[in-house]
């Protein structure tokens, strides 16, 4: 699946997007965040408070309990500050 990062999540991880293939036990968005945290210092820093991270699957907001099995594009970002 393709991961996209925005704002300070993007800056801390150090890339705007990447392709990943999580193992089968990574079922939900919450699992994905926990798995990503292990990938390096930037990830750990960006995802230190996973509950604060907002997530979209295929460009729609989802809860952290959402399964990621059919996701093509998963985006991780801070709470939005537009308007």
């Amino acid at each position: 699946m393709r991961l996209k990062y925005f704002a300070w999540v993007r800056e801390r991880i150090g890339t705007a997007e990447e392709e990943v293939a999580p193992p089968a036990e990574v079922v939900s968005v919450r699992d994905l965040l926990d798995w990503l945290k292990q990938r390096g210092d930037g990830y750990a820093e960006a995802l230190r408070h996973p509950e604060a991270i907002r997530v979209a699957i295929d460009q729609e907001h989802v809860h952290h309990s959402e399964p990621i099995a059919n996701a093509v594009e998963v985006a991780l970002f801070p709470p939005m500050t537009g308007g």
Partner: protein
């Protein structure tokens, strides 16, 4: 209620002309009795801020604002909607966002414009970063709890429904 119009939604780097947008929304029509606009500008925070940089999620920004517009159109009897949100570097005093809601009567137009802004704030994928007047790099603007509360009031019992 299914909207009888297609909302005009623009996510753009370029500036917009709020007056021209209102004229475009209501021009040539005789059924509209009220247009309420919200026009958001970049404020300078007491002279400390030179600009805001707006990052967005291309594709989702359009899709999410479309979903919010559809909710508003289903909830109030609207005759037209224009939503424009800019991205990129916006200097202090510059335009950021325009919401214009047209209806036969003012109540629907006022409520829909307010609803749209509350949902844009909390659900449209945009992020603001400050650029400071003294040249130092500014920080990402933090989301305000008040914005979440403003969105939540629309799902509270007794919230205006049109």
């Amino acid at each position: 209620m299914v909207a009888a119009f297609a909302p005009r939604i623009r996510i753009q780097r370029e500036d917009f002309d709020a007056g021209a947008e209102v004229a475009r929304l209501s021009g040539g029509r005789t059924d509209i009795g009220a247009v309420v606009t919200f026009h958001g500008l970049c404020r300078d925070e007491a002279g400390t801020l030179s600009a805001l940089e707006l990052e967005h999620y291309p594709g989702m920004a359009e899709a999410e604002i479309g979903r919010i517009a559809a909710q508003a159109a289903a909830r109030w009897p609207l005759d037209g909607l224009t939503i424009i949100h800019r991205y990129g570097l916006i200097p202090a005093g510059g335009n950021i966002v325009l919401v214009a809601a047209a209806a036969s009567h003012r109540q629907a137009a006022f409520e829909a414009a307010s609803f749209l802004m509350d949902f844009l704030k909390t659900r449209a994928p945009f992020w603001k970063r400050e650029h400071l007047r003294d040249g130092t790099p500014g920080s990402w603007v933090e989301a305000a709890a008040a914005d979440d509360a403003a969105e939540a009031r629309w799902s509270a019992p007794g919230a205006p429904r049109g």
